[in-house]
């Protein structure tokens, strides 16, 4: 007596014309053939568990972070096939970064683009401060020690110690993922009122290259962001100052930034740099209220760059939000981060 159809199986009509012959096919043990009278009816689902690895990888590539985590939890083959998937969705309008709040204890709060809240325990962030965030990688600083970190996969890559153990008034950026051979890190910080210091680290190098810059008038104000594009690091202050550092020439150029105005003849003649500035994302969107931060809490939020396939990239500036009342009793740190999952091998290091 043939077996009983499983709960998930479907009855379908016989697919051939001669009314009965079943095409030969590999079946998993969960699919059974049911015989009713003289007709053999296929009760069948497809062998999804036999899907070739390259197709599984293609599917995994379409998944966003949470779904990718589920995918990895299905079975060994699926987990293996997902090893190269990083939750990067190409051409996505949903590339808005998430907000990660940390710094009080290991319990961190994460807000996705719909402001849904998750709670994560991330011990590696204890005592550390994020000084740059780009496409899912964070650059962390803790008393001079530095490392790249992906909080969702717990991937960590240590880099040579920074020449200073305290970093205030800074802006930092890295040119590409720390797993790429051409990754360059640049950290600018204010040494004195008129002196800015730039430190640059090349992939594979054992130490940082220091370049001091004495900023002459117009002075660069409070640093707000750093970005990288086509061989040049840009350091933006929170008003309209820009310092461009060319990696190849090791030279600086100062600019005053003007927002391009289509109607103005003046701006049309100026060199154009394709960025959009978002300087008050946290404050301007009333995030304090939306994430339920009390008035006694102050927050330092590290910005990021939102890449757009067409048109200008959008720079989310770093913000320092004061407590809304006199007595500040809690200080949190935050960072805008793209939800990505990076698998790295155990011997992945900064050396090439």
């Amino acid at each position: 007596m043939p077996g009983v159809p499983t709960r998930r199986s479907k009855r379908i009509q016989s697919r051939t014309n001669d009314g009965g012959e079943v095409a030969a096919r590999r079946f998993t043990t969960l699919r059974e053939q049911v015989s009713i009278g003289n007709n053999n009816i296929e009760v069948v689902t497809r062998p999804w568990s036999d899907l070739p690895a390259e197709l599984l990888s293609l599917i995994a590539d379409q998944l966003r972070l949470i779904e990718l985590l589920s995918f990895r939890g299905v079975c060994k083959d699926w987990k293996a096939a997902a090893s190269t998937a990083s939750a990067k969705i190409e051409g996505s309008p949903h590339s808005e970064p998430w907000l990660l709040l940390y710094g009080e204890n290991s319990q961190c709060h994460l807000y996705d683009e719909s402001r849904k809240r998750y709670t994560m325990s991330i011990p590696r962030l204890d005592g550390a401060t994020c000084i740059a965030s780009n496409q899912g990688w964070l650059l962390m600083f803790v008393e001079g020690s530095m490392f790249f970190y992906c909080p969702f996969s717990d991937a960590k890559i240590e880099i040579p110690k920074f020449p200073h153990s305290i970093l205030s008034s800074h802006a930092a950026a890295f040119s590409s993922a720390p797993t790429t051979p051409e990754c360059i890190v640049a950290v600018m910080h204010r040494d004195t009122e008129s002196v800015l210091e730039l430190n640059v680290l090349y992939r594979g190098a054992n130490s940082w290259n220091k370049r001091k810059l004495i900023s002459t008038r117009p002075n660069l104000g409070v640093l707000g962001s750093a970005t990288y594009r086509d061989g040049t690091f840009h350091f933006w202050d929170k008003r309209n100052g820009l310092l461009a550092f060319s990696v190849k020439d090791e030279s600086f150029v100062k600019y005053t930034v003007v927002v391009r105005n289509e109607l103005s003849k003046n701006t049309a003649a100026l060199p154009y740099i394709p960025y959009i500035h978002e300087k008050t994302r946290f404050e301007g969107n009333d995030m304090r209220k939306k994430v339920g931060l009390g008035k006694e809490v102050s927050v330092s939020v590290c910005g990021t760059t939102v890449k757009h396939d067409y048109g200008a990239d959008r720079i989310i500036f770093s913000e320092d939000i004061d407590a809304a009342e006199e007595s500040e009793s809690r200080h949190l740190k935050g960072v805008w981060i793209q939800p990505r999952f990076f698998n790295i091998s155990p011997n992945q290091s900064w050396s090439v």
């Binding site: 998944l63 995918f71 939890g73």
Partner: protein, 159 residues
């Protein structure tokens, strides 16, 4: 039994294809070359006999060719194409699987991506257990591996 795709405006050469269950199809070259396999065959000069496709059954091949036809049509707008694709891929699991395997075998990049995205959609919002039940996949993690995965995912998927 054989089917023909409806003729395109230009009269190009036709390719003859034979599915694993012996259905034969005639299709314009311009349509067939959506498949990289056929593209190379056409470029290399293909014989007159029908091309056997032992990995694709007739029903699936008919669907695939219909898709190729639509995507080779120069008069169709992108909006219409997107709408068509959405309807085309809204099929049950068995058909989806067959389309996925056929698009892979015939190397039709856009159709493959469409099918993969549909599978991804079916995965959305599901826990690993729900995914296993949907696709009839056996959980072959050891208890230790299972525990490790659960811990890694707890923040996102719950304990």
């Amino acid at each position: 039994m054989s089917s023909s795709s409806s003729p395109m405006q230009s009269t190009g050469r036709k390719l003859k294809l034979k599915s694993k269950d012996d259905e034969t199809f005639e299709v314009e070259e311009a349509v067939a070359v959506k498949s990289q396999i056929f593209k190379y065959m056409v470029e290399d000069g293909v014989s007159n006999g029908p091309i056997p496709l032992p990995n694709v059954n007739g029903k699936t091949l008919a669907r695939v060719l219909q898709w190729c036809q639509k995507h080779a049509d120069p008069t169709i707008t992108e909006d219409e194409l997107n709408k068509y694709d959405a309807g085309f891929i809204d099929v049950d699991q068995a058909v989806l699987y067959d389309l996925l395997m056929a698009a892979n075998y015939l190397n039709i990049e856009e159709l493959l991506k469409l099918a993969c995205m549909r599978v991804a959609d079916m995965i959305k919002g599901k826990s690993p257990d729900e995914i296993r039940r949907t696709f009839n996949i056996k959980n072959d993690f050891t208890p230790e591996e299972e525990e490790e995965v659960r811990k890694e995912n707890a923040w996102a998927l719950g304990p």
